[in-house]
């Protein structure tokens, strides 16, 4: 605030203990002039929320937090609906203050948006104020995809298939959206603190936390009567990438070749006391000599060759990822792809549509 102090309006709401406030993960700034004014965050339960600047005095800034539905977010980003309509429709509104240290304090729950802060009827996200990140979020259009189910399935299969698919989807989302700062930071932080299986889980869950609802794989239909379907609404490019990776390892010869490579890498890691696999909890060895680095680079190249990911090689390098980080990511991905392959090979899962009706058991 640079003008003479003008007091903020008093708010009549219920004080909220900061410990009961959800954790928010920053996804993107949508309006940004000399700092963020409207930002997209994800709540710890997966709900998208907007952080909107409201007011300030000479000591603090005041912000609002309110939920936004998937369809509303897309419509707002496309300039089809106003922020006013979203504010009026919001079923909850939290307000907090930030001071010099930017820590969030004085949480208040309000029943409705104060009139003084309500955006105008014309509060559309116009191109001249939307950030590049906001424009990027709507440049990908979701579409429906059907995963075919078939054969004798168990509850753990119904848990395993969507989980593995979601993790692979998150990985490709990260690779394809590394230009979004929130995605890039997530990848970098996970790589810096990789601890075996914890690192792999953090990578996939971290990427999920920076995937806004409009980009997540949304369940539209779940039907199983052998055969059955999981109908998803998702970004088609990620589904294509998963399909391509699966195609690369589905045939036995190709699978055997990549398995041999996997085992070679695993043995190499063990021989050189390099840690970081799913089943290890010890800390990472980072002091690699030049020969080791060269060997790891060779393994990375081989893996990329097997999976046909020349473009990802460049993106990995662009974020300053070391060979060992690249390998850890690749192997974490591969282990999940390999597990999903088991369902495909067993005739229980089809990644590109329904099984024929007469193929049921």
């Amino acid at each position: 605030m640079m003008q003479a102090a003008v007091a903020m309006i008093p708010l009549n709401g219920r004080k909220v203990d900061a410990r009961s406030v959800p954790t928010y993960t920053w996804n993107a700034d949508l309006i940004y002039f000399d700092g963020p004014m409207l930002s997209l965050y994800k709540q710890d339960d997966g709900q998208d929320v907007l952080f909107a600047w409201l007011d300030c005095d000479d000591r603090k800034n005041r912000w609002s937090v309110f939920p936004i539905k998937r369809d509303e977010l897309r419509a707002y980003l496309l300039g089809e609906i106003s922020l006013r309509s979203i504010c009026l429709a919001a079923h909850s509104l939290l307000v907090f203050d930030t001071g010099v240290d930017c820590k969030r304090r004085n949480w208040i729950l309000l029943n409705r948006f104060p009139e003084e802060y309500l955006p105008a009827q014309s509060s559309f996200l116009k191109p001249e104020i939307a950030t590049a990140s906001a424009k990027r979020l709507v440049s990908d259009t979701p579409a429906d995809l059907v995963l075919g189910l078939n054969g004798e399935l168990y509850l753990e299969d119904l848990e395993g298939i969507p989980k593995l698919y979601q993790q692979l989807y998150s990985f490709h989302y990260g690779m394809e959206h590394m230009d979004r700062p929130a995605v890039k930071h997530t990848v970098q932080k996970t790589m810096e603190s990789w601890r075996g299986g914890i690192g792999a889980v953090n990578l996939f869950s971290g990427l999920r936390a920076v995937t806004p609802s409009i980009h997540r794989a949304r369940l539209k239909e779940l039907r199983y009567n052998s055969p059955g379907v999981i109908r998803l609404n998702l970004l088609p490019l990620m589904a294509e990438k998963i399909q391509t990776a699966m195609d690369a390892i589905i045939v036995d010869n190709a699978f055997n070749a990549i398995e041999i490579l996997y085992k070679r890498i695993y043995d190499y890691f063990r021989d050189h006391k390099i840690t970081g696999f799913d089943d290890e909890k010890s800390s990472v060895q980072l002091d690699l000599n030049d020969v080791q680095k060269k060997d790891l680079r060779y393994f990375v190249d081989e893996y990329f060759k097997h999976l046909g990911w020349a473009l990802y090689r460049e993106r990995f390098s662009a974020v300053g990822m070391t060979e060992i980080s690249q390998l850890r990511m690749l192997l974490a991905y591969y282990r999940r792809l390999r597990n999903l392959r088991k369902f495909v090979v067993a005739g229980k899962l089809k990644l590109d549509g329904e099984f024929p009706e007469d193929s049921g058991i």
Partner: protein, 155 residues
């Protein structure tokens, strides 16, 4: 020290060089971004009246800073830049669109528009986007008050 688009002999220290370098190291991306260069031309900025040096303080060092995350100052390069436009029309159109969303925008962004002539003494600027907006990363000795004049109240 990381500077871009400038001959070695002409390199001048940015106003927040240490902080900008920290952002570069933390993110693995250049700050100021690759493509930023010495500006040459008219620039319009939202300011308060009377205009003061504080009108040209990046958000990260304002008191209080308008940041919803404490990490922004460490991770966001633009926190150390100043928002500007290439024309009065672009500046005013953007402000009107912002004010429609944030009724109290004049308390934090400014009440007037100021115009200045940018050259090699002011700082390094990102390329303007298609709506004429860019970020200026000021030099330590940038003579903002001499370079900018208030042009009027934002309508």
């Amino acid at each position: 020290m990381i500077l871009f688009g400038i001959p070695q002999t002409a390199r001048i220290v940015l106003l927040f060089q240490t902080e900008v370098d920290t952002v570069s190291q933390a993110t693995g991306a250049s700050c100021p971004p690759v493509g930023a260069s010495i500006p040459n031309g008219e620039a319009w900025r939202w300011v308060f009246a009377p205009m003061s040096e504080r009108c040209f303080s990046p958000v990260a060092v304002r008191n209080p800073p308008r940041l919803s995350r404490a990490k922004d100052a460490l991770e966001q390069c633009s926190c150390w830049g100043l928002s500007m436009h290439t024309s009065a029309n672009a500046s005013i159109a953007a402000f009107k669109a912002v004010e429609a969303i944030f009724p109290r925008a004049r308390k934090t962004l400014g009440t007037h528009v100021a115009v200045g002539q940018l050259d090699g003494t002011i700082g390094i600027a990102t390329p303007p986007d298609q709506h004429g907006h860019f970020d200026l990363h000021p030099y330590k000795s940038a003579p903002f008050l001499a370079a900018f004049q208030t042009a009027g109240v934002i309508p």
